[in-house]
Symmetry: C2
Subunit: 650 residues, 2 copies
C-alpha cells in the first residue's frame, strides 16, 4: 500500500471477472478505483481468515501476529503518520481499513483500535512532543494502546464521563481517578491483554475549576504485562464475535502522570500551572475534540459495507449453484436464485449494497478533503460529522440485516462456520453499537438537521410550510429540490404529475425521497417547538418524538444515498454498465419507497393503487437483473478467492 | 418430571415475584400451569448454562454429560416411551423440551435429536420389534442415534431424496447406498461423534419397483467409535451456534442391513419378500409418515418462544436498571426504559412473546389431543401439521428478531457473552432453518389454506368474492367471522363502522386480522387459478406468486395467534390481570396491523388518517404498560435466577 513498497503482489491468482462484472466493479470503486485495485492486488491474502475453532486467547495472539505481518506488508498503520513531521493520509487510512475488512474482522478492528483510535487520539489531540515521542512506536506496533473513552455507566454520554483528571501544581502532575464503579472504562480494545498505554478521557480540573472532557495518556501495564500501580485492568473475555480483539476494562486509583501526558492540542496547562485553550467556549472545545475522531465512524461505515458485500457475495454465488425442488420444465431442480422469493430476499440487498457503496465514496471524499489538509469551514466539518454518523448507523444496520438474510438464504449450509457467513454475522453485530450506538447517532443526525432547518426555512411561516407540503400528489411542484438530484428531470416529472410518471422514473424517486425528508423534518420541527413549550414535563414531551427523530434521520440518509448513486450513474460513460446501474438504482430506490410506502400513503404522496404497483415493479426489476447476478456480485468487489466459503470451492 | 420422581426440587432459591407477575405467569402458562410449574421447580438448574469459552470438542462432551444428568433427573427422554408397552406422552415431551430451552440450547437440541427425532422415528415409524429392541436403550442413552433425513443436495425436498434402499431377496437384506455426493446425509445431530446408529430416510425399492421414501435403521459406528464398514461419517465442525451438538454427515457405500431394520409401520416387506403397506396411495403414505414427525416442529416453535423470552427478560430487566443521559427533572439520568424509542423497541416484542405463547398453548393442546391417543380425523391431523408449520416459522423468525433487538438494546454490554444474549442469538439462529426452512414452511401453510379455500368457498363465484371484499371501510359488514373471535363484539364494531371504533377495540382488531387473511387468500386463489392456466411457463407463472403466498400464510398465522390471545383473556377471571392482558393484546394486535398498515391502506381497509393514528396508539400503550414492565417479564416465565446475565447480578 505504501508507495515505496516493492514486494511482489500477493500470491492470489488473478481474478477472472466477466466483462460486465469488471466494469461494475470499476464504477463502485469509483474515484478510488486505483487505490482499491492496488490494495486488492497487494493485500497478503494468506492467513486471511481465522479458523473459527480458535478460542479467545489463541484468537488474540493470532490477530496480533497478523497485525504485525500486515504492518510489515505496508498495511495497518497506513495513513497514520509515524512522527511529528509526517502527514496524515486519510484516504490511505480508509482504503486500508476497507481492505482489511475483507479478511478477519478482528484484525480490522484491532488495527482500527491501535492506529485509528489510539494513534488517532495522539495524532489529533496531541502536540509535537506527543507525536515525536509516541507515534513512531505506535505505528511500528512497539507501543500498543487502548482508547479509553466509554465508561460502564456512560456509554453514549461522553459529556458526563466520571473519570477525573486533577492537576496537582505541587508535583506538576495529573491525577487520574475513577471515583465510582460506573467510572470504570469498559469495552476497550487492547485493554485486556496487549495494551501498555491508554488514551484516557475524563474531566480535567485545574485550580479547582472543571475544564470539561480532555484526554490523558496513561501507562497501564509494564513491560512484563503487570498492571501499573493504581491501575486495575479487567478482561471482558468471550464476546459475541471479534474474539481476536482483547476488550477489557480499566480502573484508576489516584494514578499520577506528568503534566505533559495531557493531550493538549485543544486545551492544556501552562508551565505556570494555568489552564489554556485556543477555544474559549467549552462546548465548542468539546465538540471540536470529538470531531477529530470522525474518521472512526467513516471507517466503521466502510467496514460494515464490506461485511455485507462479503455475505451477499457468498449467498448469491451459492444461489447460482444450488438447486431446489424439480418443477415443470426443470427436472434437475430449480436454481435457488430462480425462485422469486429468493430473488426478492437477496437482490434488493445487493442493490442497497451498491447504493451505500456510492454514498461511502462520497463520504470518504469529504473526509479526505477536510482531513487531508484542504481548506474547509466549520460547517464543512459539521456536515462531515453528521454524514459519518448517519452512514455509520445506516450501513451497520444494513450489514446486520443483509448478513443474516444471507445466512438464512443459504439454509443449513449457511450455519456451518466453514461457509463463513456466521463468522461475519458474529463480528459485524457490534458495528451497530461501537463508534456510537445507532439509535443515538440517528438522534444526532436529526438534531443536526433541525439546526439546518432553522437556517434554511426560517423565512417560511408555519402555515406556509404546511401549504407547501400539501399539494404534491396529482398536482405540480415548484419547490426547491436538490440540485444534485437532477433538477431538470425532476421538473419534467413534476410537470406531468408524480402519479403519472413511470415507477422507474428517477425524477419521481428523487421527488419522493425529497418529500419524505422535507415533510418529516418540517413536522418534526413544529412538534419540537410545541414540545419545548410544554408546561409539565419537557423531557417527556420531547421524548415522545423519539420515533419521529429516527424517521427524519433515516429519510435524510436515504436521500443522500440516492444522490450519490445518481451522481455515480451520471459519471458512467459505458452504455451497458450504465443500463444495469440504472436498474440497480431503481431497485434500491423503489425498495426504499416500498418499505416506507405506508408513510407515503399516509401523507398523500402516493396513491394506494400506485403503492400496490411498486411491489410488482420490484419483482420485475429482480427478474431483469437476475441474468446479471454474477456480474453484480463481482462488481461488489470481493475477490471470489477471498470469500473462503467451503461450499463454493468444489 | 416423571410422576414417580421423589427427589427434592432443585436448589434454586424460591423465586419472589410481584403479585401481578405471578398472576400473569399463571395466565401464560395457561392449561399447562401445573406441569410447567413442576418442571420449573424440579429442573436441575446447576450446570444450566455452558461456559461460552468452551470449544467444539469440549462443548460436545459437556452437553452429553448434561444430557445424562438430566436423564437421571427425569428430564430428557420424558414423554418418549421406553419400550413396546409404554405409551407416548406428548405433553410431557413438549413441556420437557420447553424447560430444557431455559438452559443451554445445545442440550435442548441434542435431547430433541436423540429422543424426539431418532427416538420418535423408531416410535412412530417402527413396529413392536423395533420398540422392544431399541427404545429401552434409546431412552437410557445407551444407544445414541442420528435422524438422517436431510441430504446435501436436498434440504427441503424430502420426496426426492437420493439415498436408495434396495431389497435383496437372496440374502433378505436391504442395501443402503448414497449414489451421488449430493445424496450425502448432512447436518445430522449425533452423526459427527456420539451416534452409533441412524434412522436413514431414502427411496425403497422392492422387486425393482420404487416404493417411495421409507426409513431404515443403520448402525454407523462400532463400540470403539470407528465407522462401520461402508459407512463414512463426517464432521461439520464449528457452527454459528449449538456448538455442543455434534452435527455431521453420513455416506453409505452399499451397506447391507437385515430386512427387519426397515421401520415398517407404514410400509414393509413380507417374509415372502413382497412390499406391503396399510396405505395404498404412495402419496398418502409419504405424508402420513412425515406427519408423525410433527412433534418436532411443535417443540422448535416452543423452544423459539422460550429463547425470545429469555433475551427479552434480560433486556427489559437491564433497561430497568441502566441510566442514560441526564434530563430536566432527572439529574441522575433517564432509565433506558423511560425512553420512548426504547419502550417501542422492546415492549411490542414482549407483547408478541405473550401472543405467540398463547398460540403455542393452543398448538400443544392440539398435539396432545391427537398424539395422546384421542379420537381424531385425518383433517385434524392435517390442521395440526399446518399450524405447527406456521407457528414454527413465525415463532423462530420472531425469536431471531427479538433476540437481536435485545442484544442491541443492551449496547456494548449486550455483546459480552457473560450477559448471555449473544449465546442465545447464535443458538437460535438455525431454528429458522431446521425442522423445515421457514420460507418453505410458510409456502406449505399457504398451499394448505388454498385447499381449505376450495372447500369452504366454492359456493362463492369469483365476482361474489370480490364484491364481499370491497365494502368494508366505512361501511357495514355482514360476513361470517370466526366464532372464536367473539362474533358479537365484532358485530357491534361492524355496525358502527370500522373507522369509527376505538383503535383498541378488539372487535376491530379481529375484523382487520380476518380481512387481511381472507382478502389475501381470495386474491391468491384467483391468481393461482390464472397462473395454472398459463400457456408458456407454468412454473414461472406460479413462481411469481411466491411473495403473495408468504403474505397469506403470515396473515393466517397472525389471525390464529390473535384468536388464542383472545381466548386466554376470556378465560382470565382476575380483573387487574385481565386489564393488563387486554393492553398487551392491543399492543400485539396494533403492532401487527401497523407493520402491515400499507397493505390495509392499499386494500381500503384502513384510511390513511387512521393508519397514522395507530403508531401514536402503540406509543400510548407502551407508556401505559411501562409501569408494569417488571411483572410483564416475570410473567414470561423465565426465573430471574436462570437468566445468568452477569450485569443483572450485582
Amino acid at each position: 500500500m505504501t508507495s515505496t513498497d516493492t514486494r511482489p503482489a500477493s500470491s492470489m491468482p488473478t481474478e477472472r471477472l466477466t466483462s460486465l462484472g469488471s466494469r461494475l466493479r470499476a464504477q463502485l470503486d469509483g474515484p478510488y478505483a486505483h487505490e482499491r485495485a492496488a490494495a486488492r492486488a497487494q493485500f497478503p491474502a494468506s492467513h486471511l481468515l481465522r479458523n473459527p475453532e480458535m478460542g479467545v486467547a489463541e484468537s488474540r495472539e493470532w490477530v496480533l501476529a497478523r497485525l504485525r505481518e500486515l504492518q510489515d506488508a505496508g498495511f495497518g498503520s497506513a495513513g497514520v503518520p509515524d512522527g511529528a513531521d509526517a502527514v496524515s493520509d486519510p484516504l490511505t487510512a480508509v482504503v486500508t481499513f476497507e481492505t482489511l475488512a475483507h479478511g478477519d474482522l478482528s484484525v480490522t478492528i484491532k488495527s482500527g483500535v491501535q492506529f485509528g483510535l489510539f494513534g488517532g487520539a495522539v495524532m489529533n489531540l496531541g502536540t509535537p512532543w506527543h507525536h515525536e515521542t509516541f507515534l513512531p512506536d505506535i505505528t511500528a506496533l512497539r507501543l500498543l494502546g487502548a482508547f479509553a473513552m466509554t465508561e460502564l455507566g456512560h456509554g453514549s454520554d461522553v459529556a458526563n464521563l466520571e473519570t477525573t483528571f486533577e492537576y496537582l501544581p505541587e508535583t506538576d502532575e495529573i491525577e487520574v481517578h475513577s471515583p465510582t464503579p460506573g467510572a470504570t472504562k469498559a469495552y476497550l480494545g487492547n485493554a485486556a491483554a496487549h495494551g501498555t498505554m491508554a488514551a484516557v478521557f475524563g474531566q480535567l480540573s485545574v485550580d479547582g475549576i472543571g475544564r470539561g472532557v480532555h484526554a490523558v495518556l496513561v501507562p497501564i501495564r509494564d513491560g512484563a504485562g503487570r498492571d501499573m500501580p493504581g491501575v486495575t485492568t479487567g478482561d471482558h473475555g468471550h464476546k459475541g464475535g471479534l474474539l481476536g480483539v482483547d476488550n477489557g476494562t480499566l480502573r484508576f486509583d489516584h494514578v499520577r502522570v506528568p503534566r505533559r501526558m495531557l493531550l493538549n492540542r485543544y486545551g492544556g496547562i501552562t508551565d505556570a500551572g494555568e489552564y489554556a485553550s485556543p477555544l474559549d467556549n467549552p462546548n465548542r472545545r468539546f465538540f471540536t475534540m470529538l470531531g477529530t475522531l470522525v474518521r472512526g465512524r467513516v471507517c466503521i461505515a466502510a467496514g460494515s459495507g464490506i461485511a455485507a458485500r462479503r455475505a451477499l457475495s457468498i449467498a448469491v454465488r451459492h444461489a447460482l449453484r444450488r438447486r431446489q425442488f424439480p418443477a415443470p420444465g426443470r427436472p434437475e431442480g430449480v436454481l435457488l436464485l430462480d425462485y422469486q422469493t429468493h430473488q426478492r430476499r437477496l437482490l434488493p440487498l445487493v442493490a442497497r449494497a451498491y447504493a451505500l457503496g456510492f454514498a461511502q465514496n462520497e463520504l470518504t471524499g469529504r473526509l479526505v478533503r477536510i482531513q487531508g489538509g484542504g481548506e474547509h469551514s466549520e460547517s464543512d466539518q459539521r456536515e462531515l460529522e453528521l454524514r459519518a454518523a448517519g452512514l455509520k448507523a445506516v450501513t451497520s444496520a444494513f450489514a446486520n440485516r443483509a448478513v443474516q438474510e444471507a445466512r438464512e438464504a443459504c439454509g443449513g449450509a449457511g450455519y456451518m462456520s466453514e461457509n463463513r457467513i456466521v463468522g461475519i454475522r458474529e463480528d459485524v453485530d457490534v458495528f451497530a453499537t461501537f463508534e456510537g450506538d445507532n439509535t443515538v447517532l440517528m438522534q444526532l443526525v436529526a438534531k443536526g438537521m433541525l439546526g439546518g432547518y432553522a437556517e434554511e426555512w426560517k423565512a417560511l411561516d408555519r402555515a406556509g410550510v404546511v401549504q407547501a407540503m400539501s399539494r404534491l400528489v396529482g398536482g405540480t411542484v415548484a419547490e426547491r429540490t436538490s440540485a444534485r438530484l437532477m433538477a431538470e428531470r425532476l421538473a419534467d416529472t413534476a410537470r406531468g404529475g408524480p402519479e403519472q410518471t413511470a415507477l422507474v422514473d428517477r425524477g419521481w424517486h428523487a421527488l419522493m425521497f425529497e418529500e419524505r425528508e422535507r415533510h418529516s423534518l418540517g413536522s418534526l420541527a413544529r412538534r419540537i417547538r410545541a414540545a419545548t413549550h410544554a408546561r409539565d414535563d419537557r423531557f417527556e414531551a420531547v421524548n415522545r418524538l423519539g420515533g419521529h427523530l429516527q424517521f427524519v434521520a433515516h429519510a435524510h440518509v436515504e436521500r443522500l444515498v440516492l444522490e450519490a448513486f445518481v451522481e455515480a450513474i451520471d459519471g458512467c460513460a459505458d452504455r451497458e454498465t450504465r443500463d444495469v446501474m440504472e436498474r440497480v438504482c431503481s431497485l434500491y430506490a423503489l425498495s426504499s419507497i416500498h418499505e416506507d410506502r405506508a408513510w407515503f400513503m399516509e401523507h398523500q404522496r402516493i396513491s394506494t393503487g400506485r403503492a400496490k404497483a411498486i411491489g410488482d415493479q420490484i419483482d420485475a426489476l429482480c427478474r431483469e437483473l437476475r441474468p446479471h447476478a454474477l456480474p453484480l456480485v463481482e462488481g461488489l468487489g470481493v475477490p471470489a478467492a477471498w470469500l473462503g466459503a467451503a461450499f463454493l470451492e468444489d
